[in-house]
Amino acid sequence: MDIFLLITSLFLATLRLATPLIFASMGGFMSERSGVVNVALEGFMLMGAFAGAVAGYSFSSAWIGWGAALLAGLAIGALYAFFTIELKADQIITGMAINLLAMGLIPFLTKILYNSTGSTPALAADIRFGFEPVVMAFVLAALISFWLYKTRSGLWLLFAGEHPQALLAAGVSVRKVRWGAVCASGAFAAWGGASLSLFLASSYSPLMTGGRGFMALAALIFGKWKPLPALAACLLFAFADAVQIRLQGVHIGETEIPVQFVQILPYLVTIIALAGFIGKSRAPKALGRGEI
């Protein structure tokens, strides 16, 4: 009976912890499939988590927080799109700069709003999301998967990343497709952040994403840049995270496993996944080239 309980709680924890990863991974999917490398997911998530927590607290509604995260994500996605698509700045360096900007901007704003640089005020327990983000994450992945292969605009996205000249020859603006994709990327990743601050926790705390943006990117690569395999990879990483939380404070015989060893588990799993399987994964052909 104990085993059954353990498995159920691990399963539920995995689903909960996978939610931010799935959203961010779908964000990465949109951007990378359109040909724009996206290491800014971490920053997008931070902005979403922050905007969600602030609006959710101010209006006492998780859904309003969700909407605010959408807007913040679109805004920071547009900033990233402007630099990478219009100014043709190096995508990886710009992405890291966006992450740094989010890390600096958020304490700057919390200081103005709440006169502290730490966490935002906590939402009341009954306002927080119960299960909704989990469902939305899975629905989003399913919708993207359907949209990509079954609709005309889904094919535009694929061609923007694989063969932009062909898309151009068909009379579709690669620039516009990429703009749309990168903005959507910002919105999805911001929802990933918001599901951290409105669902897994009840407020924004500094650097609460803890590398999840990069893990989501690793999941995308591990999932061969396809939506449903990427979702499966997110579940794997979330499982490592759930096991990590479960293992904290567990004793083997006399000695306690050092908590730091347990905490690095998800990062180790990410490295092993990337190192072990990347050989069979192929990036979109025009990824990171910046050409149109």
Binding site: L87, T94, I98, L100, P107, P258, Q260, I264, L268, A275
Partner: protein, 342 residues
């Protein structure tokens, strides 16, 4: 010249942002300048930030020259600093001239090992170095915190830091730079940083290995046809990058603090990215860029005290906007094309 303009644009935009917090941007600028260069004490602190930034700038630049983006300098320096402190605490009886050398060699070996992991994974498993180094940063932080708190904690303090290394590991008595700036952590490692910058310049432009490294970075295909092994270069570049980041052990452990303190680094590894970009990866330019970024960081860290609404995190905004300003050189041609349309 365009890089300087990009830097200025980034800095000005960052200062203008302070107006939203109800501050006078010009006033903030004056505070930054005064707190960076105002007195010998302030200058000493600025230089103590400059030294690790030179090391990290060199680390990032080596990677860029080989076509790799090393954002793992933070993890590499963490591992190296802990290693230096561990050697100093665990082997207290090594005599003076030998002791710092042993600790330093151990530190850069550990740093280069940590960098080499990412290089090896890139070369033989095709894993992207950006994600791998970020993950390695988290792992390094975890390992360092475990080693510090469980194995060699400081028995005389509640702070999360290692025990202090024995006195024969420190070169304080011979340190001319430290004498110039009393009461600050500035120390002779600044001299080492300058020497290493020159050495890296010589390595990159005057040796065969350096040529191979740059060849892979500028055109991997051509380098391959020329008989240069891309895999070896990637491992060499990342190991070198780790070694440079590991030199931070020199300024932190052997030169000033004598211990590893968790959180001592205000993300030197990330500021190093801005330093390398600003200097266009030129080792000699990095010295100047590191001084500039060190000054900005020192200035920003005093904003806590000098203003009511702006905190030290503002330093990150400045860095991000400077990186964006320098990287996005496309805005010149973008503005031209807009003007033509109108």
């Amino acid at each position: 010249m365009k890089r300087v303009a990009g830097f200025l644009i980034g800095l000005i935009v960052a200062l203008l942002l302070t107006a939203f917090a109800g501050e006078n941007p010009w006033n903030v600028f004056l505070i930054l300048m005064k707190s960076a260069f105002g007195s010998m004490y302030d200058l000493g602190l600025t230089l103590s930030y400059t030294t690790p930034l030179i090391f990290c700038g060199l680390s990032v630049a080596v990677g860029f020259h080989a076509g790799l983006f090393n954002i793992g300098a933070e993890g590499q320096l963490t591992m190296a600093v802990v290693t230096a402190a561990a050697v100093g605490v665990l082997f207290p009886n090594i005599p003076f001239p030998l002791a710092p050398v042993v600790a330093f060699v151990a530190a850069i070996l550990m740093g280069s090992f940590w960098g080499w992991i990412a290089g090896w994974l890139r070369a033989y498993r095709g894993s992207h170095e950006v994600i791998i180094t970020i993950m390695l940063n988290f792992i390094a932080a975890g390992l360092a915190s475990w080693f510090t708190l469980q194995i060699i904690p400081n028995p005389n303090s509640q702070n999360p830091e290692t025990a202090v290394v024995s006195a024969n590991y420190m070169f304080k008595d011979y340190d001319l730079i430290a004498r110039l700036f009393p009461d600050t952590p500035a120390n002779a490692s600044l001299g080492f940083a300058l020497v290493f910058a020159v050495l890296l310049w010589v390595f990159l432009w005057k040796t065969t290995w350096g040529y191979g490294l740059r060849a892979v970075g500028s055109n991997a295909e051509a380098a391959h046809r020329g008989g240069i092994s891309e895999k070896k270069v990637q491992m060499l570049a990342m190991a070198l990058a780790g070694a440079f980041a590991g030199c931070v052990a020199l300024s932190e452990v052997l030169g000033s603090a004598g211990q590893y303190r968790i959180g001592f680094s205000p993300d030197y590894g990330f500021i190093g990215i801005a330093v390398a970009l600003l200097a266009n990866n030129n080792p000699l330019g990095i010295v100047a860029a590191a001084f500039l970024m060190g000054a900005l960081h020192k200035g920003a860290s005093d904003l806590d005290l000098e203003t009511t609404t702006i905190t030290r995190d503002f330093s990150r905004i400045i860095q991000a906007l400077i990186i964006l300003g320098v990287t996005a050189q496309g805005y010149w041609s973008w503005m031209k094309s807009k003007r033509r349309k109108n």
